[in-house]
């Protein structure tokens, strides 16, 4: 069996582009006992992959010549594993390829029914768990709080806002572009969305987050997906006792040298509590997330959006769009017709 594979060709400086990847067929090994042959249905593209390419991500590194890592939804074509039947659909870390031979024990069943399996890569997968942990474990959301979240049209950001809204917060998104902001308000139900491409970010935040405490700002909780100047602008506007979850650093993933961060005075002045969030620490919340969130999605109380690229050969260009913030929703590559 042969697999179509995307490998890293060279380590990019700046935004990775299709020229930094190669597309080739490779032979797969024969199935051993306990293994399965799978076809990849959906490939998840995620910002953390940029860190792997530059050797800076805690989850592993991808050097030139190596297959790109990635989480996938797969279907079992052939099984030499007890209890795993042909046709099973599950998630697995098959990477950027069309087929794979995997240890059956590494397959993770889809934890919900009645919804597209690709949601296991997005709002009901790692991005959803990230948001769920931030809202339920770190941000201590109380009714009436003003919560701000960056990258609000993405899978993490949109879930953070919707989950905080259910807890009674006033929810303000930050996103780039009128189409994204329209979706964030109209479909995801945010109270406001600041379009940083339409007007100065600080003006937008000031309008959407009226000051609550003289000398301080109007943000009670902030979930950061991007770092850089967006984080800086939010830190400048924290209210007394604000909680901040630092989660993503999109603005610096493509920088050769990480830039500095906000001055500590903002944290001191607001007596803020700033938490580093890594989703791996919160696996214990996954079952609860699926139990609570899947029904909300099925019932339409929570909206989700995918940005779908068709065909594995489109993965590098789709990844470039993700890195440039040009995606609209969770970036998924449909590798095989499901």
């Amino acid at each position: 069996m042969r697999s179509l594979q995307v490998r890293l060709k060279s380590t990019p400086s700046g935004v990775p582009m299709p020229e930094h990847f190669s597309l080739d067929h490779a032979d797969l090994p024969a199935l051993a006992s306990g293994q399965v042959l799978v076809e990849v249905l959906d490939l998840s593209l995620d910002p953390y992959m940029r860190g792997q390419i530059s050797g800076r991500h805690m989850s592993g590194r991808v050097d030139p010549g190596m297959l790109m890592n990635g989480e996938t939804v797969v279907r079992v074509l052939e099984s030499k594993a007890d209890g795993v039947a042909e046709g099973l659909v599950a998630t697995a870390r098959a990477g950027w390829q069309s087929h794979a031979v995997l240890d059956a024990a590494t397959l993770v069943p889809i934890g919900f029914a009645g919804l597209p399996p690709s949601l296991a890569l997005g709002v009901l997968g790692m991005p959803g768990l990230t948001a769920f942990a931030g809202v339920n474990r770190l941000l201590d959301i109380r009714p009436g709080d003003t919560l701000v979240v960056s990258a609000a049209a993405g899978p993490v950001g949109s879930m953070v806002g919707q989950l905080a809204k259910i807890k009674g917060a006033r929810v303000v998104g930050i996103a780039g572009g009128a189409d994204k902001c329209a979706w964030v308000i109209g479909s995801a139900g945010f109270d406001a969305c600041v379009d940083y491409k339409a007007a100065p970010l600080r003006d937008g935040l000031d309008a959407a987050c009226p000051v609550k405490t003289p000398g301080l700002g109007g943000i009670d909780a902030y979930f950061d997906n991007v770092g850089g100047d967006v984080l800086q602008a939010a830190m400048e506007r924290l209210n007394l006792g604000a909680r901040v979850a630092l989660c993503g650093l999109m603005e610096q993933y493509n920088a050769d040298v990480p830039p500095p961060g906000p001055n500590p005075a903002f944290t001191i002045k607001a007596r803020a509590h700033v938490h580093g969030l890594v989703v791996y620490d919160h696996e214990d919340l996954r079952a609860r997330m699926l139990r609570e969130v899947a029904p909300w999605i099925r019932g339409g109380a929570i909206a989700w959006k995918e940005d779908v690229a068709h065909g594995l050969e489109q993965a590098p260009a789709a990844f470039e769009r993700l890195m440039r913030g040009q995606n609209f929703g969770k970036m998924v590559v449909k590798v095989a017709a499901s």
Copy 2:
């Protein structure tokens, strides 16, 4: 009655020096009912005063021509207030002057006996409460933790380390100079003290705080009094789940434009919890601090050190020394013989 007073003459750029202050006598108003005439025994000089001069501190601002603010130990010379007798020694916010007419209700009794009243300005006052709140409320010290604290020979830093040591932590100070480090280890009982003037700070921290988690650092708890590069170096070395209290910003108090801070990636990578600490929020701990810490000081279990300047006219030069980190211990001006 006349009072010798130190007033701000001009707003300095950079480190305030004696030329930025004026020393003159001023007439005090006649005593009204409910008021007391006091002589100032001890004047506390503290880093926050720099922020008041530049109008950046939450506790108030001092413009040119105004009397410098400050906490003092005073003795009542004359009283028109019921229940307040001549000779009473108390703390009050009399500012940088020799005498003052104050509302008796603003006097705060010295909350301990058998120790010098000036400790009410230091280890048993605001700096002590700052340290007590950091260790007991924000840093979640557990036995075996490695705690690092900057400005370790100062009143806040030395108390942070000694209180954390009592809770079972391994305690590492950062201070500038062999004499300070010798006191921090020999008298305050720290396990180690990094002299950033003797060798590169990062080398010293690496030696004193062996890595506990591969890919991360050896610091479980960090109490920051200075900001700037010292904070940066500590953030680079946080262990998994580290707690950080941001409290002082000595490295930037004299900067016209606040510099940036550490990249948020350090907080994320360590899943750290970073808290802004302002002592005013923790008044509820003051009685407990006095109850617990005063006996430790009387019994010699906790060491303290004052850097004493004699005479109000020395206050500006002493403040300059404080701003340059040349003080050794809590900076106190003896205004009158007690």
